[in-house]
């Protein structure tokens, strides 16, 4: 279905003729099926490239007037960035890409939606500042990650999930009002996102974000931490063989392996109580093998050698990052005490060296998208959060539903390919099971959802909080009653703020 000429002209008057298109060949880039799905998204009827918040507001109002749906997106890696119904326009916020302010003194940065992790993280390094970069790759939008999607990262043990770092929000509501939340509401600056009174930022993002389902976040401020590394990325080598070593006197990676998950758990908990370390993780092993190799063939060679299954089935990754050599030595002593008590031992040097040689794993995670390499059919499940202890409990139940898929050859034989990342020195933790399946199989189109459903059923059976209810109407309605009737409140809030249901309606 095409956009009516008169509506096109309205949009064109807002953004200018160079920044709108309804040409099929332009739209072709916004309607491709993702590799994990055979289903082609509905084509948008137009794409717009607004440059200012006011343009976004004007577009949103036109959409409301004409009952047009809109999806605001930046990098569009996630399927929520694609239309699931007719009459949808895409607001590509790439031109809204300014770093509005880096406040070195008060430690916050104000950014627009189009600013990418690679840009902001490296820009901030010059000021001795940093923030937890989401594990999405350097081309991911910082704003989308902080305010609209999820926000887990490799250093959340020493920091937190990204939404904790929101310090200010400018938000065009689904009907086109511009709201400024937190201290910004009273022109007090961009340093605090909660209040005045009830914190409306709760509407913008919960465990995950609204994925564009409640208007458009156009600017945010994020809180910044100190960066203990050099002012520029100390990268050596050439693509795809980059190496990055941070100064050895204050930065060190250690990886241990344990006979049981319980021991990993005990070590993780003990480390958290001492507040040493900057990153602590039980990391994926197949994903680690993908990150460590340059091609699918190399991956298979490594995976078939069994090294990563042997060394990284139950690993604990620890990255120590300190202000002095003395502090590093102290942290290492504490760590070794804990590892000795909990029965861990160092992994083979050939595995450890991968991470010692490439500490970007804890900075930008520049190669994260390598996990997609095996043909691209992949998905995460679980994606839940609670205590470190509960996440391990959830992990121990994974084989109950997952082994069958492996036995039937439907997914990659990688039962330990899950991650448990503690946050805030172990006060919470996040779990993620990443599974890959092969598009050459006849039933490949079904596998992704089958695993996800089985995972959710497993949670229900054990009353595990292994997932937060997903953004899909049917799933939400089925699960909502078991999750405190959250679907009712989510729907009511959506209806109140988006009465015309035009802001990326829930699939």
């Amino acid at each position: 279905m095409a956009l009516a000429p008169e509506i096109y002209r309205e949009f064109e008057a807002i953004v200018g003729p160079a920044y709108i298109s309804d040409r099929e060949y332009i739209l072709a880039a916004l309607r491709q099926p993702q590799p994990h799905s055979p289903f082609k998204p509905v084509s948008p009827v137009a794409v717009l490239l607004p440059e200012t918040t006011e343009q976004v507001q004007a577009i949103v109002r036109v959409c409301n007037r004409h009952g047009l749906r809109y999806i605001a997106t930046v990098s569009s890696l996630i399927s929520f960035a694609y239309p699931n119904g007719p009459n949808t326009i895409i607001l590509h916020l790439k031109r809204m890409n300014r770093i509005v302010e880096i406040n070195e003194r008060d430690r916050y940065a104000v950014i627009e939606s189009g600013v990418r992790h690679g840009q902001l993280r490296t820009e901030l390094m010059r000021y001795g500042l940093s923030y937890p970069v989401a594990s999405v790759g350097p081309g991911g939008s910082v704003l989308a990650n902080f305010a609209c999607s999820s926000g887990d990262n490799h250093v959340e043990y020493g920091t937190s999930r990204s939404n904790r770092y929101l310090a200010g929000i400018e938000w065009v509501t689904p009907t086109g009002e511009i709201l400024r939340l937190g201290s910004l509401a009273t022109h007090a600056g961009w340093f605090n996102a909660d209040g005045p009174g009830p914190s409306l930022r709760g509407l913008i993002k919960g465990f995950a974000g609204q994925w564009g389902g409640l208007g458009v976040v156009t600017r945010i401020a994020i809180g910044l931490d100190a960066w203990k590394g050099p002012p520029e990325m100390p990268t050596e080598g050439r693509s795809p063989r980059y190496r990055m070593r941070l100064p050895a006197d204050c930065h060190k990676v250690l990886i241990f392996k344990f006979p049981t998950l319980d021991q990993v758990h005990d070590a993780m908990q003990a480390i958290g109580r001492t507040e040493i370390g900057f990153s602590v993780m039980k990391y994926f092993n197949a994903s680690a093998a993908l990150l460590a190799t340059e091609s699918a063939n190399e991956f298979w060679e490594l995976w078939n050698s069994g090294l990563f299954q042997r060394e990284l089935a139950r690993p604990l990754f620890v990255y120590l990052s300190t202000w002095s050599a003395e502090e590093l030595a102290y942290e290492e002593r504490v760590l070794h005490d804990i590892i000795a008590e909990t029965g861990g031992e160092p992994v083979a040097d050939e595995v450890l060296d991968i991470y010692r040689e490439n500490m970007d794993f804890f900075v930008l995670v520049g190669f994260l998208q390598r996990v997609l390499r095996l043909g691209g059919a992949w998905a995460p499940t679980k994606l839940g959060g609670d205590s470190v202890s509960h996440m391990f409990e959830v992990a121990k139940a994974i084989p109950e539903f997952f082994d069958g898929f492996i036995a039937r050859g439907q997914v990659l034989d990688a039962p330990d390919n899950f991650m448990i990342t503690p946050a805030e020195y172990g006060h919470q933790a996040h779990i993620e099971l990443l599974y890959l399946w092969d598009r050459n199989q006849p039933d490949w189109a079904e596998v992704g959802l089958q695993v996800m459903r089985a995972s959710l059923e497993n949670d229900l059976e054990h009353h595990h909080h292994g997932s937060s209810p997903p953004r899909a109407k049917a799933m939400l309605e089925r699960l909502g009653p078991r999750y405190s009737n959250c679907h009712v409140w989510i729907e009511r809030l959506k209806a109140a703020f988006d009465p015309n249901d035009v802001s990326n309606p829930m699939p």
Binding site: Y19, S21, R23, E24, Y25, I26, A28, A29, L30, R31, Q32, P35, L49, S75, S76, L77, A81, H92, K94, V115, R116, G118, Q119, L120, R121, T122, E123, R126, G137, P138, G139, G140, E232, M233, T235, R238, S239, P240, R241, Y242, M244, S295, A296, N297, F299, W300, D360, L364, G366, F367, L368, Q369, R370, L372, R373, L374, G375, G376, N440, Q441
Partner: protein
Amino acid sequence: MTAMNRLEDLRYTMESCNHCGQCKWVAGPRTTGWRFAEICPIHMRHHFDAYSGQGLLNIARELLDGELSYEPGLVDLIYSCTMCGACDTACKSIRDMEVLDTIAALRAHCVDAGHGPPAPLTRAADAIATHGNVFGRPRAERDGWRHTPAREEGGSGPIPEPSSSSEIAYFAGCAACYLQTGIARDSARILAAGGWDVQILGSDEECCGRLLWQTGQWQAAEQQIERNLAIFRRRGIKTLVTSCAECFGAFRGIYPRFAAVEVEVLHISEVIARMLREGALRFDREVDLHVTYHDPCLLGRQSEPYVPWQGEIKSFGLHEPPKTWRRGHDGVYDAPREVLRAIPGVTVTEMARHEENALCCGAGGGVAAANPVLARWTANERLDEAEATGAAAIVSCCPQCRGNFTAALPRRDRALDVFDLTNLAARAL
């Protein structure tokens, strides 16, 4: 054609794209800040996803599947890409996908369907067929550069007489033969100074055919390649030295798609670096200049030898037989820098985007002919980056880059000098 280069052969690439966006960005570990972080010229200019490696893959898939028609503007979009390969290298840092090959195949698909290339590129193909060069200049003038001094040349000595028996040949390329003859003249001087006796092909030299391949005119490209290889065989050439990055990249990366290349191909920067290391060449004259070096796409990320692959992509991306990937790692990056640093008085500051992450000058892929406005726009972006280094000059190893930068200069506030490496090296002799 010997390998899987047709659009239908590249379906795995088209179906594997996750829209991660890496094709638009400098590799994360090489990013230096907010500025100069993007890497795809057409995406920087137009912002729509369709103008990017990812978008072109999507368009290719829809065209292949008959889901998209050739409405006005589509072919122009497809031919706006400079074929710089930045998307390809960026994507291959993380994936096993052939983005650039798909874009090339997409253009060939358009041509096969009778929808391309744009007229200036058809004219260029006709000129090559008729005159052996893209400019339609007389074949007889091909070695005219030997006799007429050029403004840009750095050396001052006489041009040595070519050898008739050497197994080494200097392949000047169309641009250095007709437009920037100083590059050819300085190359000849340098080779002689280093003790290399070389053949000059003269009127036997023809266009390398790079443009034909890049613009989807593959039948013509194949003929051109066969013609050139025959000349090389006939003249007993074992080693070919080029001063043009595009010719160099063509011999290494395009020719093997059509035929076995039995000559060793060297870029003049590699030759000079070797001469310097071996003591065969010395730079005695000081050249007091702060420069930045621009990596030509076909000398850098696109110059890895192409190894034909015919096989099957099995479960979970396993390529059988194993494939030799061209990921941009082993391009010619060090030699030009080594040469520059050896010139007394020259200081080199890198641009934010360099080596495999270099931004294209904007001229490649037929864009200079088909879309000169876009070519100049991209050149300006690159010149901005060069200026940000504080350098007084930008040096490249490719007459196309030099030509495009020079064309962009008149509308700029600051006068940045533009040099070919050979001109600076010859000045230091």
